[in-house]
């Protein structure tokens, strides 16, 4: 299968990159420790999680009504609302707003949903000069790379790599590997761009229906500048980001920042409710919100997978994933990596395109345990594995359902079933396996590349149990 082979090659490349593995391991270590320090009381943590989870579940259950209310309140506040069913539509909407305003220079705050729809490439090909203003995003934009993590996008790069990158793109600035100096350089470059920008684009962390408020969580102030300095602000978000009440926000925010980076609160928290009002001296004159579906409505209708949409994009599942820490984000080949990526991407792009991601999981459960809104990620991954090889056809299910079923694999499991579901056959099988144990192969695919092969015992427990007088009833 093409996607499996492509994934295998990306895995091979990732595992052979010791530098990146080292960078990622050290940062993930730090992030998980910082998170743990924010939740010293495990009972309290459980209460927080339960609470945040029920807020998100409530919002999903009432999503249609809440979105309607959100639109009403945003419009009443003077924010224009646009609906996009697909990525293409969202890109077109953003471009048409920019075009109508004559905007050429755009600054962006960090936003995963715009990565999901490929907004940068779309706008660049239409001669819009678009600049990522989050430091991590700025770095990978210079490197022409996608983010390798949803919260810390340039985490695969170390300071020397960043220094070289800056030196290459800004030879007029002197070479340094000092992080503070590098940050200062980026700041100088970005400040000029903010001042000259015609428009700012951002994502949204929570869209509050009750008040028509767009909440944006960030650390660098670039989000605030992107959404206040230019005359035009366009926010893009998935429809699942809607929550009911303003009073839901502190609880979700608490879980988001602590789970994401181990911060009790981020440096900046923006609540955008209106464009610039008469008499005000700053703020954008025009604010737009693009609400993107891109497959989310289908997920919401699938009761087995609905929990996917609870996600608040904190990245905690990624930080705790023992597979991600080996591979890094690029190996996944998708916008969202790690456990949430393995659950979300096959549903967005189709199992036939990227269902293979569900195999990159040992079902260890670390992600589910770390999720601040209690998404049962291992259960969802396992469910998608079943969807991938299902031979039952039905509509409105995950795109590409059943596309990973292979005759050989199905036959193997049927044979396994035949042996293990028939006690007499299993007894024959175990007799043969123990008697013929000397025939155990010395090599067995990928297993024996790293380990010896276990050999059947001389006698099975079945046989031994009777010799030791254990009853059979």
């Amino acid at each position: 299968m093409q996607q499996t082979e492509a994934f295998r090659q990306r895995i091979h490349k990732a595992l052979n990159n010791q530098q990146v593995r080292h960078n990622i391991r050290s940062v993930m270590n730090a992030l998980t420790l910082k998170r743990a320090a924010q939740f010293p009381d495990s009972k309290q943590l459980e209460l927080y999680r339960e609470n945040a989870s029920s807020i998100r579940q409530h919002a999903l259950a009432n999503q249609a009504d809440l979105l309607e209310l959100l639109e009403q309140n945003l419009m009443a506040n003077g924010i224009q609302v646009h609906w996009a069913e697909t990525a293409e539509q969202a890109n077109e909407i953003v471009f048409s707003i920019l075009k109508a305003a004559g905007a050429r220079n755009v600054v962006k705050g960090k936003s995963m949903v715009t990565e999901e729809i490929g907004l940068n490439q779309y706008l660049e090909s239409r001669n819009i000069d678009i600049l990522e203003s989050d430091l991590g995003e700025f770095i990978i934009q210079l490197a022409h790379e996608p983010p390798s993590h949803i919260v810390v996008p340039a985490i695969h790069k170390n300071r020397a790599e960043v220094a070289e990158l800056f030196h290459k793109h800004f030879p007029e600035l002197c070479y340094t590997e000092d992080i503070d100096e590098l940050t200062l350089m980026a700041r100088q470059i970005l400040r000029e761009k903010f001042a000259a920008a015609d428009a700012g684009i951002s994502g949204v962390n929570f869209a509050v229906a009750e008040t028509g408020t767009l909440c944006l969580v960030e650390n660098e102030g670039n989000g605030r500048l992107s959404t206040t300095a230019p005359d035009l602000h366009i926010a893009v978000t998935g429809i699942e980001k809607v929550v009911e009440k303003l009073s839901d926000v502190p609880q979700l925010l608490n879980m988001l920042t602590k789970s994401a980076t181990g911060q009790p609160i981020t440096t900046y928290f923006n609540m955008i409710s209106k464009p610039r009002q008469p008499g005000e001296k700053d703020g954008p004159r025009y604010v737009h919100l693009v609400l993107l579906d891109n497959g989310r409505s289908r997920i919401r209708l699938d009761s087995a997978l609905l929990d996917t949409l609870r996600c608040i994009r904190c990245g905690s599942c990624i930080n705790h994933c023992p597979v991600y820490v080996q591979l890094g984000g690029h190996a996944y080949g998708t916008t969202y990596p790690g456990p949430i990526g393995s659950v979300l991407e096959p549903q967005l792009l189709g199992i036939d395109k990227i269902g293979t991601l569900t195999s990159a999981c040992s079902l260890c459960g670390a992600c589910g345990e770390a999720c601040p809104v209690k998404i049962p990620l291992p259960k969802l991954i396992n469910h998608l594995r079943a969807e991938a090889v299902s031979n039952r056809y039905d509509d409105d299910k995950v795109p590409g359902k059943g596309s990973m079923r292979s005759f050989n694999q199905a036959l193997t499991w049927k044979t396994w079933q035949l042996i293990y579901a028939n006690p007499w056959l299993y007894r024959l099988f175990s007799l043969l396996a123990t008697r013929l144990r000397f025939l155990t192969p010395h090599r067995m695919g990928g297993w024996s590349k790293y380990r010896t092969i276990p050999r059947p015992a001389r006698q099975s427990l079945q046989q031994i149990a009777r010799q030791h007088g254990f009853a059979n009833e």
Binding site: I11, H12, L15, P322, V323, Q326, L327, S359, A360, C361, S362, L363, C364, G365, A366, G368, E369, N382, R385, A386, A388, V389, Q409, A410, W413, K414, W416, Q417, Y420, A421, N422, P423, Y426, S430, A433, G445, G446, W447, S448, K449, Y450, R451, T452, I453, P454, R455, P456, A457, Q459, S460, L461, Q462, Q463, I464, A465, H468, F470, A471, N472, E473
Partner: protein, 259 residues
């Protein structure tokens, strides 16, 4: 349930133990019997269905799981020497059997399922007298024991009862060893990278043995250690190798070796 004198349990050995590690099952059954509990080992037992369930083949898993059901007719506990297989019975069977005609029976079996160390500590309140020589061990907490069954505390408390055993802590103890059942076959290189980091963390300690409550993890970690040791031997690096052992065997060996 029965009175103290008539306590009895079913023992579900698991497919891995049955064919590859029968001594683990035997040790576990002897430990339980030694505490005055009658142990029933139903002859028709096979597998809990987990390998197929975790590979997406749910129909096949269902058939195999269903074949196990008649082994446990009496309303007595079912003891499993593996947190992963116990977790399958206790937490995954309800999902696997949802809306099936025998759903209630599955839920009943799930409610009677206990992992071995959980049973020894919580139900039998076992007290151990260590007869063995001083030894340093590392405990590998399996993911199923930690997060699914939440019984990792019990292996810790059991080992700490042993007077001559010193427990040393390895780095990143709670991180998965990379086994994951069919994951180790489907993604051998990721799994290999994970187990190599696990063995690195373990060999960096002064432990002579790694103890766990899951044979899957032990097959993975032990197999990797053996592979590494055999290549070291070829390079004439003769050091006493770190070995692995299931908690049941370890406890029996320390406390009853002469029995």
């Amino acid at each position: 349930m029965n009175t103290e004198a008539e306590k009895e349990i079913y023992f579900f050995g698991t497919c891995l133990v049955d064919l590859l590690y029968p001594n683990v099952g035997l040790s576990a059954m002897k430990l339980i019997r030694h505490l005055g509990v009658r142990v029933i080992f139903p002859a028709n037992q096979g597998c809990c269905g987990q390998p197929a369930f975790n590979s997406g083949y749910r129909d096949e898993a269902l058939h195999v799981a269903r074949a196990l059901m008649p082994c446990f007719p009496k309303n007595i506990p079912i003891i499993v020497p593996s947190a992963s297989c116990a977790g399958m019975l206790k937490h995954q069977w309800p999902e696997l059997f949802a809306n099936q005609p025998d759903e209630n029976l599955a839920l009943n079996i799930a409610s009677r399922t206990l992992e071995l160390t959980e049973y020894l500590v919580e139900e039998l309140d076992i007290s151990l007298a260590d007869l063995g020589n001083p030894i340093q061990v590392a405990i590998h907490s399996s993911c199923s024991a930690l997060r699914e069954m939440k019984v990792a505390v019990h292996i810790e408390s059991l080992v700490r009862q042993l007077a001559n055993v010193t427990v040393v802590e390895q780095q990143r103890k709670t991180e998965c060893c990379g086994f994951g059942g069919t994951f180790s076959i489907k993604q051998p290189d990721i799994s290999g990278a994970m187990v190599n980091e696990k063995t690195d963390a373990l060999t960096a300690t002064s432990a002579e043995r790694v103890i766990s409550q899951d044979c899957g993890c032990l097959m993975n970690i032990g197999g990797a250690l053996e592979k590494q040791q055999s290549s070291q031997q070829q390079s004439h690096n003769q050091q006493p190798g770190l070995t692995t052992q299931h908690i049941a065997e370890f406890l029996w060996e320390r406390c009853h070796a002469a029995d």
